[in-house]
């Protein structure tokens, strides 16, 4: 059963999602503590991305509750959920492609404002400007601030998307296969950058690269056909016979 209290920030209670006859997520329960990096692993089609889509309101859960900081967010729209403090990246890079790196981060950095006076001058919004500057440093993209982001390397685009997600000041960050499509070398550079960028963040990470998972995560949840198969530390999961059978194929 999912725990509550003592530092738990996200709890999924018997969450289901069916697409027609297919149960993509089947009574999945899990809880994530503040400050932990939780990896979600499982074979293709296990329901990992669907789970992230349920948490961020892209899909509505068929059944179950999703508690974030104790409140049920299962019926909220993606923008409301973002404002509650959950941010994410997508499996297929999702940026404001025609805008510069600076403008991309700015758009996220100003997103917590409640009122947009049509006559306001952006240069007077010093807090947003500072936040944007800090994020440019943190992502290491400061020297590319004026580059239109469709012209960035793929690796830089993945980092930029993380920078955008972080610029909303989330309490929970969901990363959907950050290393997908990267070469080993680029992956290593990304992981290094992630370590610096994501210090202290509560994260749910969907990732196929077991090397990355083992290196970054505190705990793992294994999904299989939409069900939670196992949960534990990396060492426990590696030692779990059932997991080895269905996922690691040994």
């Amino acid at each position: 059963m999912p725990e509550s209290g003592n530092g738990v920030i996200l709890t999924l209670e018997k969450v289901c999602k069916s697409f027609g006859g297919l149960m993509a997520v089947n009574y999945a329960s899990l809880s994530v503590r503040k400050g932990e990096l939780r990896a979600l692993i499982g074979p293709n089609g296990a329901g990992k991305t669907t789970l992230l889509n349920l948490i961020t309101g892209i899909h509505a859960a068929t059944a179950g509750r999703i508690l974030f900081k104790g409140e049920d967010i299962a019926r909220l729209s993606p923008d409301r959920i973002s404002r509650r403090g959950i941010s994410r990246t997508l499996q297929i890079t999702s940026l404001f492609s025609g805008l510069t790196v600076y403008e991309n981060i700015w758009a996220a950095a100003q997103s917590r404002k409640r009122f947009f006076n049509p006559l306001a001058r952006p240069e007077r919004w010093t807090d947003v400007r500072e936040k944007t500057g800090e994020m440019l440093e943190l992502t290491g993209l400061a020297d590319k601030a004026d580059t239109v982001c469709s012209e960035l390397s793929y690796g830089d685009q993945r980092i930029l998307e993380m920078g955008i997600a972080l610029s909303t000041g989330p309490e929970l960050l969901l990363l959907d296969e950050p290393t997908a499509g990267l070469s080993t070398q680029e992956s290593m550079a990304l992981v290094k950058r992630m370590r610096a960028m994501l210090r202290g963040q509560t994260i749910v990470l969907v990732e196929h690269d077991m090397g990355v998972v083992m290196e970054l995560s505190d705990r793992l949840t294994v999904l299989h056909y939409g069900e939670v198969l196992a949960e534990g530390t990396p060492a426990e999961i590696m030692a779990n016979d059932e997991v080895r059978k269905v996922y690691l194929g040994k």
């Binding site: 923008d79 997508l90 999702s94 758009a107 947009f116 306001a120």
Partner: protein, 316 residues
């Protein structure tokens, strides 16, 4: 009215010079050219209102004619049937179309792509059908002819039956509208609009209520389209149901695409260029639409981002 990259003092200087030039026109150009320039200014305002919704938010609205036509009637009907003044007519030409835009937008901004285009055409068709059949109010396709009462500004009374005075009034209102919209698209609000244009899903995921901002932009654009219609009928002393026809929106679409969408200054250039072209070509050939079509095709092939987009690209 210059590209974004002209920072600091360059814009106020260039804008001031251009305004001084336009203000001097009546001193050396005859009434015909004053009327012609008034018309260009009105259509330029209509085109920039379209550019706000198309170039900045990414919604191809063919419904702007509805708001243009409503703006025209919002000036004509109160003057003719309610005995109201020109000033209240002009205010109504913003408020009434903006209110209709809120209604139309409520249904339309839920849709995207071609579905959005079609629903805006449908609303404009409904508007023009109502306008053409409700002749007791609108005069139908024959329209309404009215006398514009003088506009009392406190310090001066403007005689709007005078072509030169009308030209100055239209110039002042179009210039102020341009300055307002220019400021707005550069404001943080404008950045939300552009973010939505670039990637709706991403905008939603960082916390923007996309529908709400689309509706807001649609209402603002509707208000300015209405103001353009109001100025048009004020300059002609005439409003007609034909203004409501969805194809009227096509003018704004063409001016904006030729001039450069998402620039505000582009649609003004586009309106000036195409309307001048039509004016001079009509002496040579009847089918000016053919020439306009050719310009449109050439633009799409050679400078897909329009004249302003092309010029900006070269500067980089």
């Amino acid at each position: 009215m210059l590209p974004d990259r002209w920072k600091g003092g360059a814009f106020p200087l260039a804008f001031g010079l251009l305004m001084a030039g336009l203000a001097a026109v009546p001193f050396f150009a005859g009434l015909f050219y004053q009327t012609f320039l008034t018309e260009i200014l009105v259509w330029a305002l209509f085109a920039i209102s379209f550019d706000l919704i198309f170039g900045y938010v990414g919604l191809l609205s063919f419904g702007q004619a509805l708001f243009f036509g409503l703006g025209g009637y919002a000036v004509a009907i109160p003057i003719l049937k309610l005995g109201l003044g020109t000033g209240s007519g002009l205010l109504l030409s913003i408020a009434v179309p903006a209110a209709f835009a809120a209604f139309v937008g409520f249904f339309s901004v839920r849709l995207t792509g071609i579905h959005f285009v079609i629903i805006t055409i449908i609303f404009a068709l409904i508007g023009s059908t109502v306008g053409e059949t409700w002749t007791s109010l609108t005069g139908g396709a024959d329209g309404l002819v009215f006398m514009a009462p003088p506009l009392d500004l406190g310090v001066a009374k403007l005689d709007l039956m005078d072509i030169r005075t009308t030209y100055y009034l239209v110039l002042a209102i179009v210039a102020l509208s341009y300055l307002f919209l220019r400021r707005m698209v550069r404001s943080p609000l404008g950045k939300v609009f552009v973010a939505i244009r670039e990637n709706e899903e991403r905008a939603r995921l960082i916390g923007y209520d996309v529908r709400r901002y689309k509706l807001l932009a649609f209402v603002i654009a509707g208000g300015f389209s209405g103001l353009a219609g109001g100025l048009y009928s004020l300059s002609l002393k005439y409003a007609s149901a034909t203004f409501l026809h969805w194809s009227v929106s096509g003018h704004a679409v063409v001016y904006t695409i030729v001039g450069g969408a998402g620039t505000l200054v582009g649609p003004i250039l586009g309106a000036g260029l195409i309307m001048s072209l039509e004016h001079y070509l009509v002496k040579l050939m009847q089918a000016t639409d053919l020439a306009v079509g050719a310009v449109l095709v050439l633009t799409l092939l050679l400078a897909p981002r329009g004249i302003a987009g092309f010029l900006r690209g070269r500067r980089k």
